[in-house]
Amino acid sequence: MVRNRLDEDAFGTRTDAETAAVRIRGLHKAFGDVRAVDGIDLDVKPGECFGLLGPNGAGKTTTIEICEGLTAPDAGTVELLGRNWLGHGDELRQLIGIQLQETQFPDKITVEEMLRLFRSFYRRGITVDEAVGRAQLEEKRRARVGGLSGGQKQRLAMATALVGDPELLFLDEPTTGLDPQARRHLWDLVERLKQAGRTIILTTHYMDEAEQLCDRVAIMDHGHVIALGTPKELIATVGGEDIVEFAVGEKETAGPHSTASASADFAQGRLSTPPLAKDASGSAQDERAKEIDLQALKAIPGVQSHRVEEALHQLSVSELHTAVPRIFAALEEQGLHLSEFRTHSATLEDVFVRMTGRNLRDE
C-alpha cells in the first residue's frame, strides 16, 4: 500500500478505480471514559455515496472528523484516496470538500465574498460563479449570510465544500434542522453530485435520508458499526418488507405501560395488555390484565418477528395481503379489541430498532 501510494504521488496520478476512496482500519477514539469510536473498519468505493446512520452519540461525527483530519485517532488508520493524514495533510485538504455540523458563517459577509475567500485556499477548483450555481444561490449571491434561511445557509456551507472541486466530499448531518422543503432541495443537490461521480460520505440520523441518498449505509451505535450494506440489503434483514403495528385495549390506558416492563414481559414470551375498562363486553374478569398469545401470532404464515414498545406491538411481515386478515382473526379469537392498527413498508429505522431495541432518535 505504501509503495503504491508513493508511485501515485511520483506520477501525480489521481486515484484509480481499485483503490478505495476511503479505507478505515481499527479506528478507536475515546474522550475521557467515553469510547466514541470503538473499533471501526470501513471501505468506501470511489463514486459511492456512503451513509453513516445512527442516533446522536453513536460516533458518526467523531468518525467523519477523524477522516477529515480534524481529530487524531487513538488507534487505527485512515487512508483517503490512497493517502494518510500523517504525511499528506496539505495535499489531502486540497482534495476533499467538507461541510461540518453547526458551522456559522459571519452574518455580515455576503455569499459571494465567503465563496471567494474559500476559493482562494484551493490551488484548483471551480469558479465562484459555478459554486453559486451548483448551490442554487444565484438570487442570494450578494445577500449577507445573516439574511439567508436555514436551507440557504446549509447550501452555502455545501458550496464552500465544492469550490475546490473535491474528489471526496464529507457532509456531516447536512439536513439536520431543515424544513422538509429545504431538505428535498439539499437532497437534489447531493443527487446531482452523485451523478457527477463524486465520492460522498454523509452522516445522518434520518433513515429516509440515508435510504434516499446512499448507495451503502453503515449503521452505527455506541462507537460500533452494527450493520453494513445497501439500504435494500439491510431492510431485508428485518425479515419482512412490511411492518404491522397494533395496540389492543383503549389508548388512554395504554400510557402507563412502560417500555421496561414490556421488554421484561417480552423476555418471558407472554405479554400483558392494559385492562379494557370501558369495553362493551367488560366484566369483572376483564379488570385483570388480558394476555396476548404471541405464539399464535408468530405461527401465522408471513409473520417474521414480533416486538413491543409502549404497548405498541410490531410484527414484521412478508406477505402483507394474506397475513393481515389472519392477524385480525387471531386477535379476535383471543377476544382482544384493537385500539390501533397500521402498516408501513420496512425502513432502516426498523433495522435499527430490531438490532438495538431502541429508536434512532431515542436519547
Binding site: 467538507i98 458551522t103 482562494s120
Partner: protein
Amino acid sequence: MNRLVLSSLYQLTVTRLKLTLREPEAIFWIFVFPILLAVGLGIAFRNRPADVLPVGATTPQLVEALAADKGLHATQMDEAAGARALATGNILLLAVADGNAVEYRYDETNPDARTARIIADRAIQIAAGRRDPVAAGNRLVHETGSRYIDFVVPGLLGMNLMGSAMWGLGFAIVDARAKKLLKRMVASPMPRWQYLASYLLSRLVMLAIEVVVLLGFARVVFGVPFRGSLVELALICVLASLTFSALGLLVASRARTIEAVSGLMNVVMMPMWIMSGVFFSPSRFPAILQPFIQALPLTAAINAVRGNMLQGTELGHMMTPLAILLAWFVVPFAVAVKVFRWR
C-alpha cells in the same frame, strides 16, 4: 483577477477588514470615541484667560480705585448687602472704608479670595499714590506642548492602539471559535499562519486610519505639536499595534466564549489604563511600583509617542521603550501561535 487578489492572505485580510467595518459599534469605539474623549478633556483642561475677580466696596472712591485694575470687577454696596454677597459667593472680597483706613473682608481659605485681596490692596495703594521702588514689566507666554491636552493626546493614542487591537482581535477570534468557523477554516487547505497574519495586517490598515483621524483632529483643533519625525512616529505606532495585536492573540488563544475573553481582556488592560500614564504621569505611583510600570507595554508605547511628539526625541534615543515593545510583541505572539485552540 491578478495573483494578489486571488491569494488567500489577501482574501483573508480583505474579509477581516470588511467584517470590522460592517460593525457600527466598532466604528464608534475606534474612531469616534477617542475624538470625543479628546474634545471633552480639551474643554475641561483648556488654558483660560486670567479670571476677572468680582469684588465689592462701600464707597465710590474705593470702587473707582479698584476698577482701575483690569483684574477686578468692582461694585458698590453697603456693608449688609456686601455681607450677603460674600456669603453667596457673588463677590470674593468686600473693601470697607473706615475713615482713612480700609478693611478687607474675605475668606482666606479660598485662593481666589486671597488673590483678590492682593490685587485689591495694590489697586487701592496705587490710587492713594504709592510708588514701587523697583520698576517691573510683564511679558505673557503660552507655550504649546506644555498644556494638558498636549500631554493627554499621546496617552489617548496609546490607549486607542491598545484597545482597538485587543478588542478587535480578541472578540473576532473567540466569536469565530464559538461559531465553529475556525474549525471549518482549518479543515480547508488555508495555511494557519495566514489566518493569524490576516488579523495583524487588517489591524495595520485600521491603524493607519485611526492614527490619522485622532492625531489630525488633535493637530487641527488643539494645535498639538509634532516635534519629532512623522515617519518615526508611524513606526512607533506600527510596533505598538503589533505588540497589542500579539497580546490580543494570546488572550484569545484559548478562550471559548465572549464572556471569558472579555474578563481576560479587562484583567490585562485595567492595570495599564490606570498606571501607564494615559491621563497623568506614572511618576505619581510609589517608587517600588516603577519597574513594573515601566515594563508595561502601554507605558513604553506612550513614553515613545510622547518622546517623539512633545520632545522630538529620535528613535535612537528611545531604545528602552522600543525594546520593551518588541519583547511584548515577540513573546506573546510565539506563545499564542503555540497554544492557539483551533476548534
